[in-house]
Subunit: 222 residues, 2 copies
């Protein structure tokens, strides 16, 4: 994969800019974002390369230049989902660390409820919906299955690591690792519960209660 590690909208200032390459990157990015949106809204069957190209405002030829097959396009889109999620988590982490430092200065503690809510929110947006469509298709489409499983394992490890950092959990304490894992499983389940109906009101109450439970579990583990 040649996806840039930094978002394309902020290229290194020192590199000489190539307008043609910039346009190519922008086209690629538009296709990936359209693929994720199509998957989230219409599912796998209706998300053909032609539909994605039209949504992205890109010619079918240009789409096929970037992604020769449908599997190429959607595998790259999953990679894009992963990169976007990581970027969101990283941004969260920096902002959170700053807020935590401020909170610690002001009143000596961080708000675990807010953190838990923000982590759960990662599982209720269009990125999660698209990933869910892919997981489900990958469960019976062999060509996608292995790729998506490997990617999911990587995303799972990264999400776990970020959650541990965000929550300030000490994984050297027995049980803490499983406490964080179970919490992320709950976040995934809450995302699934939000698929057919707007589940926000119930979810907010569950998150408030489970933030308290998780806080107790992380501070005084079994």
């Amino acid at each position: 994969m040649t996806l840039p590690r930094t978002p394309p909208s902020t290229p290194p200032r020192t590199a000489p800019r190539d307008p043609k390459q910039d346009r190519s990157r922008a086209t690629r990015r538009r296709l990936l974002e359209a693929a994720v949106a199509c998957l989230a809204e219409h599912g796998w069957t209706r998300s053909t390369v032609a539909v994605v190209a039209e949504r992205a405002g890109v010619s079918r030829g240009a789409a096929q230049h970037h992604f020769p097959t449908r599997e190429d396009l959607f595998t790259a889109a999953v990679e894009h989902v992963a990169t976007e999620r990581s970027a969101a988590l990283r941004a969260l982490h920096v902002r959170e660390r700053q807020e935590r430092e401020r909170a610690e200065r002001e009143r000596g503690g961080a708000e675990v409820v807010g953190l838990v809510g923000v982590l759960v929110d990662l599982y209720t947006g269009p990125l999660f919906r698209a990933a869910l469509q892919l997981w489900v298709v990958a469960s019976y489409e062999e060509q996608l299955g292995a790729r998506v499983a490997a990617l999911e394992a990587r995303i799972g490890r990264e999400t776990h690591r970020m959650a541990v950092e965000l929550l300030g959990a000490d994984e050297s304490v027995p049980g803490v690792r499983e406490s964080v894992q179970g919490f992320l499983d709950m976040a995934r389940g809450l995302g699934l519960a939000n698929l057919l109906t707007d589940d926000r009101a119930r979810r907010d109450r569950v998150v408030a209660q489970w933030a308290r439970i998780l806080d107790d579990a992380l501070r005084a583990p079994n």
Copy 2:
């Protein structure tokens, strides 16, 4: 819906038996079970009425006699999933109550870890996989959407009620209701994590840890 509340394999002993009606019920049941298996293994797109009929060993005409449209077949299959899950939960509940009474006689307490594991197991089998395929398709197929959402709401309420009974939770205590809800969300998330890979080893560790945490939360709620 005319699905019997008791499993068709155990009709009321006092009712006169009608062999033709028995055969019709058996055919219907074979079609529903084949529909669930097809959905779990092959997803919506490949689960046509013809494929389900062939798997059930039923002629296409007989399948269409029972279910005029594809939506009819799969909506009934969802109902079947719900009925099967309820029956499994009811069976669990009776067995568990017997075991709990025995345990209380023997050593004065019930094993919440085993209960939590059994509840989580409901989300990792073919019934959950089929339901997941339907939820995902229902998220963009309008004809299925409203039916599946209504059914899911009903199943969700029933599952919650059974979990409360099984765990011996007292919902009059503030926070207990949300503790049980969050646990069922976690079980759903664990089911999803099991979709692409065999997640049992990790799941067992998470369940062991969260059974302890849930036990504490239910006994000494916030």
